[in-house]
């Protein structure tokens, strides 16, 4: 077994959620209107409760890696 053979992606699901939130934020940042509201609405509509809880917890713990708009969007989540 070569070393590179096992060299595959090993991100945690929290890291993935941050990437996803930032991607969403990047889109809404380009749109006219309130970008954070757009992010919040999108996440509320498509993320399951556990994912939402995780990202909120992550944001609450400092939100490492979260873009500002993503942070604002997560903060705007109502549930």
């Amino acid at each position: 077994m070569s070393a590179s053979d096992e060299d595959h992606i090993a991100t945690t699901s929290d890291e993935r959620l941050v990437v996803m939130a930032n991607q969403i934020a990047r889109f809404f940042a380009s749109q006219p209107g309130d970008a954070a509201a757009g992010v919040a609405k999108h996440i509320a509509a498509y993320w399951d409760p556990r994912m939402r809880a995780h990202i909120r917890a992550h944001a609450a713990a400092g939100g490492a890696g979260l873009d500002p708009i993503a942070s604002d969007g997560v903060a705007a989540l109502t549930r």
Partner: protein, 946 residues
């Protein structure tokens, strides 16, 4: 059900609003202007003898059997090539004509083997029929003259034989290959008596350009080109019309049966999607249904390293139900879920999502559309209001400029590609936007005006640059925009695309497409008449897949190319029922008809109908399920007709997720790769074994009809019902039509759909309701489903997947004509003769840099993993780009792809992976281990027979 007999009218329908009235054999008949006398006669119930004419092909006039007499005209014109005219008086039966036809038949039979009794076409041979029809009683020439009886048979094609000894040189096969299929693989070689049908330049069929679509076999009036299955089994005794279970074109076939055996699948002339055409998959590759590797008994095992143990159905169902109940008790309501299949029927898909929502009590249901066209749903819903393509297929006949983006129709959607090629040969312009030089860029009598070979991942930049050209060069359709679109959104968008950084000149360096070509393509689309965009997974499977779909929607709106025939935005759907699976509420956030689960009114309608309370929170998508499994909170998954291990990206991650679950239930025809991680295997049924409906890429709902009893005992819908009832849901569907009735009752866009209505109309394109009782072929006529069309700003965001010194090449993936998706079906047919392994296409320069020669085994690695496969050196791919398919489990191309995905839908970024290629000396460790696991997982302990 007896054999279906369709009338062959001899020549195609003449599309004309004007009518002419003529008299044929004393009977007056009115027909559309331009109709041939032959067709007019057939419409009047008179069959004029014919051999070279068939209504799928233009009249040719070569057999000379259909000659008639016309008052006031000299000679005996051919009825197939002579158009009916006002006041014409035609006689089809006279002494002169009888003598003439007899003379022609006498000539034919003088060069034809007299082996009718042992001929495979006996009873279904037009030559035989015509000899009878003209009353041929003797062949005075004898049989010792010059002839073709000793010509050698060509049996090279796995599905049909070519016996030139039986050929009557009517050219129907050649014309079908040219006119219908557009491959131009056949010709008539030689001349005069020496004329013969020749694949390529006198080559065997398999060495020619033949794509084995079957059009020639279908067109042949004798046993010259005939299915091997027919030769083996004999003439069919009954036939049933059904829908193909391969790609999203949704071809209608007549399954011709002998007892429980399929004799052949014949493309159905009245099928709205295919109009009598077919491809090598639907036409011939159905043998998997009886393949020896098909699993027919339920099986269970405690751990994925155990061998399988065959059990009775009740035991398997009880075992599964107990496991799911136990897991939910221990890990919570949200710890289980299901994946519906785009391969199964609408009714089956609907039941699986119903099982999850009503039985599991959560919304953890997703479908394989997640990994293909989910961005289409999101993008088109946002801009237009409906998650579907806007046109029917025949709309392409009216298109003047065809734009193909990230799709390879001749391989992926061959029957529609043939139709598109007909239009292109008739003069429509073509723009291809694809990193790879797909066949349509240059194919016989078709050449793209522009091929924009963009760098993978730059769709949004290219599409926005085209919009820039249209807006800044004043090519926008202002009337359309004013009447049909939201003005503020348009102005925001127009200001955005007009920025200098979106000009072709500014974008050129990013996308690699010359600015001049980008400008010219934008102008052509905007000004060339009806512009129709067709796109595929090359658009959606990107981190900006949804944005690209919206950019396409913007282009159609800014040019007014929406809301009529010949235009539109047309996603080419990968699997047979991708559209349907999405329509049926397979996504975790929405119920059937694309209504969000949080919508109180919709939810309460379902709650009332189903008698349960529904969770109002969106559930997990497939990648989220796998993440949750790795996290240890998602424990059981019911997968109907999907092989996520092979088809989903980043195989390592998928396998880790599956391995982390306590109960994986796979319902499939074969022990697929996902089943290596399964604890329960429920044998599924093929499309031949059940009733239901599929919905194709045109939103066309079509019947799937049962032609044989399920070899596994149950249709897939029945298996889901067994699971539901074991959970105490008390379902009592006797027939899938009742499920459709429920769908119609609960889904406004399906309100007018029922099996009875489908049987009556043949097919229905949704929306079908009181507002559109016949269905809706073209959408957004007069107004968008959402009201005003919405322009969306589409900022180009480069993917995070970037090339660098370690991974300097970009891998993009696709499919090939003969294989389908993960190949579970096609690999178990003779289609493997065309494609027995996945190969890596690499540009000669890149190959040379790496010392790679044609056919070398190479190691392809990305940051996700590595596989070994053989190299094919070709300039179809640009330097810096490599390409492969994902049909073969021993390649496992998805080991390479990453977990990057679309920002809106999590559709994986299959189309862009940074990779390196180097010479290899054998399979990779993963390939070896996965091979071992597959081998282990195919061990079955059979119960001794009772």
């Amino acid at each position: 059900m007896p054999m279906i007999k369709l009338i062959d009218y001899g020549t195609p329908d003449a599309a004309s609003d004007m009518t002419v009235t003529l008299t044929i054999d004393g009977r007056e008949i009115s027909v559309a202007a331009g109709t041939s006398i032959m067709r007019a006669a057939a419409l009047a119930g008179t069959e004029i003898p014919k051999l070279c004419a068939t209504d799928s092909l233009e009249a040719f006039g070569s057999c000379r059997l259909c000659l008639v007499e016309i008052d006031g005209r000299a000679g005996t014109p051919a009825s197939c090539t002579t158009p009916a005219a006002e006041g014409m008086v035609v006689r089809t039966q006279t002494e002169t004509l009888k003598r003439l036809r007899n003379g022609v038949m006498e000539l034919y039979i003088s060069d034809h083997p007299l082996d009718c009794l042992t001929c495979a076409a006996n009873g279904d041979c037009e030559l035989q029929d015509m000899a009878g029809a003209v009353g041929l009683r003797e062949v005075r020439y004898g049989y010792d003259g010059e002839n073709h009886l000793a010509e050698a048979k060509d049996e090279s094609n796995p599905y049909f034989t070519f016996d030139p000894a039986k050929c009557i040189v009517c050219s129907r096969c050649v014309r079908a290959c040219d006119e219908v299929q557009g491959t131009f693989a056949l010709t008539i070689a030689g001349r005069g008596f020496g004329s013969k049908v020749s694949p390529g330049q006198g080559q065997p069929f398999m060495d020619s350009d033949c794509v084995s679509c079957g059009a020639c076999v279908q067109a042949c009036p004798t046993a010259t080109l005939i299915e091997k299955s027919l030769i083996e089994i004999g003439q069919p005794e009954r036939s049933v019309v059904t829908t193909c279970a391969y790609c999203g074109v949704g071809c209608t076939f007549e399954a011709q049966m002998r007892g429980e055996q399929v004799v052949r699948m014949i493309p159905y002339k009245d099928g709205k999607a295919n109009q009598g055409h077919s491809c090598v998959k639907g036409r011939f590759a159905w043998g998997y249904a009886t393949h020896r590797e098909r699993i027919l008994n339920p099986m269970i095992r405690d751990t994925i390293t155990d061998p399988w143990r065959e059990v009775a159905w009740n035991e398997a169902i009880a075992h599964t139900t107990q496991a799911f109940k136990r897991i939910q008790e221990r890990h919570g309501r949200l710890a289980v879920g299901a994946i519906t299949s785009s391969r199964c029927t609408n009714e089956e898909t609907f039941l699986v999502q119903k099982l999850v929502r009503a039985g599991y009590g959560n919304n953890n249901v997703d479908t394989c559309a997640r990994v293909c066209h989910s961005p289409t749903g999101y993008g088109l819903r946002t801009t237009y209001g409906t998650s579907a393509g806007t046109q029917d297929f025949i709309s392409v006949d009216q298109a003047d400029v065809i734009v193909i983006i990230g799709a390879n129709p001749t391989d992926g959607h061959p029957v529609f590609a043939s139709r598109m090629k007909q239009r292109l040969r008739a003069g429509a312009h073509l723009i291809v936007i694809d990193p790879r030089r797909i066949d349509l860029v240059r194919t016989p009598h078709v050449e793209a005006d522009f091929h924009l070979p963009l760098r993978p991942g730059t769709n949004v930049a290219v599409l926005t640059a085209m919009a820039h050209v249209i807006v800044t060069e004043d090519l926008a359709n202002e009337d359309f925009i004013r009447d049909r679109c939201d003005a503020d959104e348009f102005h925001d968008w127009a200001a955005f695309v007009a920025r200098p950084e979106h000009s072709p000149e500014a974008i050129e360096a990013t996308c690699g497409v010359p600015a001049g070509d980008l400008r010219a393509a934008g102008r052509l689309y905007a000004t060339g008449g009806n512009g129709a965009i067709y796109y595929g997974l090359g658009v959606t499977e990107h981190s900006q897949g949804t944005t690209a779909v919206m950019a396409i929607a913007n282009l159609a709106m800014v040019t007014g190319n929406i809301g009529r025939e010949g235009v539109g935005v047309n996603p080419l759907r990968g699997q047979n029922n991708v559209q349907g699976a999405c329509d049926m509420g397979s996504f975790p956030h929405e119920l059937s008809g694309y209504r969000h689960i949080s919508d109180e009114a919709t939810r309460s309608m379902f709650e009332a109908d189903w008698g349960v309370a529904l969770d109002d929170e969106p559930g997990l998508r497939i990648p989220n399920m796998l993440d949750a499994a790795v996290d240890g909170v998602f424990k059981a998954l019911y997968i109907q007709g999907e092989d996520i291990l092979q088809s989903d990206p980043n195989t390592h991650h998928v396998s880790a997720g599956l391995a982390a679950m306590e109960c994986v239930v796979v319902q499939d025809l074969f022990l697929n790769e996902t089943a290596n991680y399964a604890h329960v295997f429920l044998p599924g049924s093929t499309f031949l074994e059940k009733d239901g409906t599929f919905t194709n890429a045109e939103r066309r709902i079509q019947r799937v009809r049962k032609v044989m009893t399920p070899k596994n005992g149950y249709g897939d819908w029945e298996i889901t019902q067994l699971l539901a009832n074991a959970m105490g849901l008390g379902w009592a569907y006797d027939h899938p039509s009742q499920i459709m009735d429920e769908i119609a009752r609960l889904t406004p866009t399906f309100a007018g759909v029922s099996f009875a209505r489908l049987d009556e109309l043949g097919s229905i394109q949704w929306p079908c309701n009181d507002a559109a009782p016949q269905g809706t072929p073209v959408m957004h006529i007069g107004g968008f489903a959402r009201g005003k069309g919405k322009f969306v700003v589409t900022e180009y965001v480069p993917t995070d997947e970037k090339i660098g010194p370690r991974f300097p090449l970009l891998l993009t993936t696709g499919r090939i004509l003969s294989q389908y998706n993960v190949g579970a079906q096609t690999r178990r047919t003779a289609n493997v003769v065309w494609h027995d392994q996945d190969v890596l296409e690499i540009h000669p320069t890149d190959a040379e840099d790496r010392g790679v020669r044609e056919g070398d085994l190479v190691r392809l690695n990305s940051r996700a993993g590595e596989v070994a496969l053989h190299a094919r050196i070709t300039d179809r791919v640009a330097p810096g780009v490599v390409y492969t398919t994902f049909h073969h489990p021993d390649t496992q191309a998805n080991v390479i792809t990453t977990d990057y995905s679309d920002w809106a839908t999590n559709c994986p970024e299959y189309k862009v992976t940074a990779v390196q290629v180097s010479l290899a000396n054998g399979p990779t460790g993963w390939q070896r281990r996965s091979g071992e696991l597959s081998h282990q997982s195919r061990r079955i302990m059979r119960e001794p027979a009772e």
